[in-house]
């Protein structure tokens, strides 16, 4: 069962060193713009897959290969980080 971007907040904070749940993702396929927190997340596979909640196209894939996080963002047209509020 799919989770949402909140569930990978820790992983993303570890990778990007800033909160990404509030970052705005633009789907490269359908153009939908949404905070990462609200996107579909599949955690239980070999890696983590983030999909567009509107069209289910893959936005982001994170695989942890020998302790190193590899991030593919090619499914997004943009990923806009909001200025930290604190």
């Amino acid at each position: 069962m799919a989770l949402d971007g909140n569930a990978i907040g820790g992983m993303l904070l570890e990778i990007f060193a800033t909160d990404m749940t509030s970052a705005e993702a633009t789907c490269a396929r359908c153009g939908a713009v949404r905070p990462v927190a609200e996107e579909l997340v599949y955690l239980r596979g070999p890696g983590t897959v983030v999909r567009c909640r509107r069209c289910t196209s893959v936005l982001m894939v994170i695989s942890r290969v020998r302790g190193l996080n590899c991030v593919d963002l090619s499914g997004m047209e943009a990923l806009e980080v909001k200025a930290a509020s604190d």
Binding site: L40, R44, P46, R51, S63
Partner: protein, 203 residues
Amino acid sequence: MTSPVSRGFHRRRGPAGAEAGKLPPGQHATTDFPVLSAGPTPHVPLTEWTFSIRRGGQALRSWTWPEIQGLPAETVTVDIHCVTRWSKLGTVWRGVPVRTLLDQVGYDAPHVLAFSDGGYTTNLPIGDVSDGRAWLAFDYDGQPLAPEHGGPARLLVPHLYFWKSAKWVRGLELLDRDQPGFWENYGYNNYGDPWREQRYAGD
């Protein structure tokens, strides 16, 4: 920093009698059947479902659901090994050997790319699906394969890590040149032999 031990915490206990020799390196046995998905569960009516063997994007041959059901099927008991480190021993499946399907088209390609509803793909050397060790499986444990586990039909290639056993599989593309599938593209091993612990590219 080394992590402190959490007193009394241990991994979910595996089944009693899971002989060590049956587990590839780095795996532990589980009794449940975790659901692993990289996307939403598709629901294709059986009347619209087909399985195709393609080459260059053209179907060489397609089978409808009743046609697949009409082929001689095998019941097999196999151990499955997931790259997320669980193994499930003695699972019982029923399906048509992929060899039977390949034999009906006559093939000469060295590689295949399995493709599924929802866009998932995984690549395999032809030898690993044509030698009787791979099935198009539609029953699990005596029941029709549940959608969350890949039903109506999934590939079953138990001698490789389980991501090669594509859920919701709809066909095989014959390839002259190998082409990485979904996870193979993201750093996972191109072949995925659990006994040689080929988890990641380069293992």
